[in-house]
Amino acid sequence: MKSKLPAYYTVWHYLNHYGLRLTALLVLMFLMLPILVIIPLSFNAEPFFSFSSGMLALDPQAYSIRWYQEIFTDLRWTLAIQNSFMIGIAAALLATVLGTVAAVGLASDVMPCKRLITALLISPMIVPLIIVAAGMFFFYTRFNLVATYTGLIIAHAALGVPFVIITVTATLSGFDRSLYNAAVGMGASPVRAFWQIVVPLIRPGVISGGLFAFVTSFDEVVVVLFLAGPLQRTIPRQMFSGLREQINPSILAVATLLILVSIALLVTVELLRRRSERIRGEQF
């Protein structure tokens, strides 16, 4: 590496150069280490959140998969896992359909009050969750939506919408409108042109928007705290009470599984982004 540096470099230059590298490395470690620490801790045989001396000595006796067994046998955890997926998928579908259609409208060059409406559609991402949750609690009570799946799905869909709007709008900004015009000009109905031309081209953006909406719901806990009854407890809600009431290491096992989920999501979104870039690249 040193040979690549320009010959006129002084000691100060070197210090700057390696100082920057060191800082960057330390920051990357700060980002990653707290997450990596979770994984070995989840195999702790003892019911604690810390490394036992046996674990540090790499004694096999100090490791166990009992916390993993617990989450798949404890009814509260299995219900929470089911709920998280069910609510997340339903909310993401609702947000994706409504958000994609709206993003197509927003992309139109004649859309009235575009700036104001965009700001409004993005606002669920900006308003503090505690305010959203409190407001929904007051309002949904009147319609008997508190402690129901419907109430939570609606609430989470509203929170996921901004992510769909942002990702689909980004995909649409590279969309060549003349393709749609050509299809309509050749006799396709606007609906057919939309489904056969627009949708396939923006699909990567739509799917990653939907994934963001799913993650938003999957990770959300404040609204769940206010709106959910005991039957609607989700994974984060179960973790929250686990961390608050008595620290139980099965949370670490769940956390490790969630890290795997986030790796899978990260890979998927990256593949979608590449695909979207490729599709856009092919147009020009």
């Binding site: 100060w12 620490v37 810390s50 900006i126 990770d219 806990v221 670490l252």
Partner: protein, 413 residues
């Protein structure tokens, strides 16, 4: 203009009609989502804002008394007619088992009155209506001598107003004096102090993310794309990892037998474990970790667009590296810097979960107090007022963000 004037009036009308139609179609695409968001999101928040100024409970419980009080001057004790009326209504509440609600509402404005109202209500329960309308005032005085205190009547009258700004005054540590003037409340400024603390914590987090995020983004932007993309995974993975996972990991890191304390003891830096968890420090460090990607991603995307030859040009013309950085690179990276900083600040001001889990009593922010008034003290009006002030702060920041940065720069992944 010339193109327009060459059109015939019919053509112009047709063109305008076509334009209107296209506008309508565009709007129809957005309409379903607008309706949905209005019902699921905007209306709930609006109803919460409304609740902060509208508190009809007392007005619904004792309407006749409040009616009778309308010409009372509030200087001396109310006359017998008002007191009799109140005794009648209090008896009715006692029999409907709703006197506790009245007691709770009045007690909130004048602590210590809950027991006065409750015990009096119990004694009036069996008294005949006719007797109450004759000598209700006497019976009240006999039940509790506090009814001879004009303050309690004034409080009943003021809590009986369905619309009031009392919650906002409380939320700003103010109170309204008898003559209507607004003054600071005695005692510590609980709420103003908490707002200040929230803003201070948010600012600290923003500065820390900037301090950590800027060099890393700068470094990533200087790398080849393939290397940078590889290292970006270390930024994106935490970004995608559940908030509760990361909060959990900070509990494991900071607790007294946790990783940080074990390392410090192992290195011989300290002998006793430090109290790191359940402090303001824990809130700040965990939130810095959680929000750091929100700083790095916009910074990196702006820095990637800065041509490195500008810096080289400045240096080849004799600028010292630091001067070149400060005068060329830093100004060019400002859009990313302001986007990241505003984003982190906006998100951290309203944070709830992390302070609730790792903050202890020190590291609580305004959201935690709102949740407390919602769930534990059941003072929903005050919670709504505190929430409205927080919302106003956030909207102001968002407006600034939208004006200077634009929501277009928000991107994820």
């Amino acid at each position: 203009m010339s193109a327009q004037s060459s059109l015939s009036p019919q053509d112009r009308r047709a063109a305008l009609r076509a334009l209107r139609q296209r506008k309508l179609v565009a709007f129809l695409f957005v309409a379903p989502l607008l309706v949905f968001l209005f019902l699921s999101f905007v209306a709930p928040i609006a109803s919460m804002l409304f609740r902060s100024v509208y508190e009809p409970t007392v007005a619904e419980l004792i309407p006749e008394t409040l009616d009778a009080m309308s010409d009372w001057d509030g200087e001396e004790l109310p006359d017998e007619r008002i007191m009799n009326q109140f005794a009648l209504e209090l008896k009715k509440l006692a029999n409907d088992r709703t006197s506790g609600r009245l007691a709770g509402e009045v007690n909130r404005s004048l602590p210590g009155t809950s027991s006065v109202i409750q015990s009096t209500a119990r004694r009036l329960r069996a008294v005949d209506d006719a007797e109450l309308s004759q000598s209700g005032a006497e019976l009240l005085m006999k039940a509790n001598k506090r009814w001879g205190d004009v303050e309690i009547w004034r409080t009943i009258e003021s809590t009986g107003q369905p619309y009031s700004f009392t919650n906002y005054l409380t939320a700003l540590d103010l109170e309204q004096a008898r003559d209507g003037s607004i003054q600071a409340r005695d005692g510590p400024k609980i709420y103003v102090d908490l707002y200040t603390k929230t803003l201070r914590i948010a600012l600290t987090i923003t500065l820390l993310t900037l301090l950590l995020g800027y060099p890393l983004s700068y470094f990533l932007a200087s790398l080849r794309d393939s290397t940078a993309n590889l290292l970006l995974v270390f930024v994106l993975l935490p970004f995608w990892t559940s908030l509760l996972v990361r909060t959990t990991s900070w509990i494991a890191m900071l607790q007294s037998g946790g990783v940080v304390n074990s390392i410090l003891i192992g290195l011989g830096v300290i002998n006793e474990p430090l109290e790191l968890l359940y402090t303001e420090f824990a809130t700040v460090i965990a939130m810095t970790h959680i929000l750091l990607p929100f700083m790095i991603l916009p910074l990196y995307s702006v820095m990637k667009g800065i041509d490195p030859s500008f810096m080289r040009a400045a240096m080849s013309m004799g600028a010292k590296p630091w001067a070149a950085f400060l005068r060329i690179y830093l100004p060019m990276s400002l859009p990313g810097l302001s986007a990241g900083a505003l984003l982190v600040f906006i998100i951290s001001v309203g944070y709830y979960i992390t302070p609730a889990l790792v903050g202890g009593t020190d590291g609580q922010m305004i959201s935690n107090l709102i949740a407390f008034h919602m769930q534990q003290s059941n003072n929903w009006g005050l919670a709504a007022a505190l929430g409205s002030i927080l919302l106003a702060v956030i909207l102001l920041l968002y407006w600034t963000y939208d004006r200077f940065v634009g929501t277009k720069s928000l991107s994820f992944g």
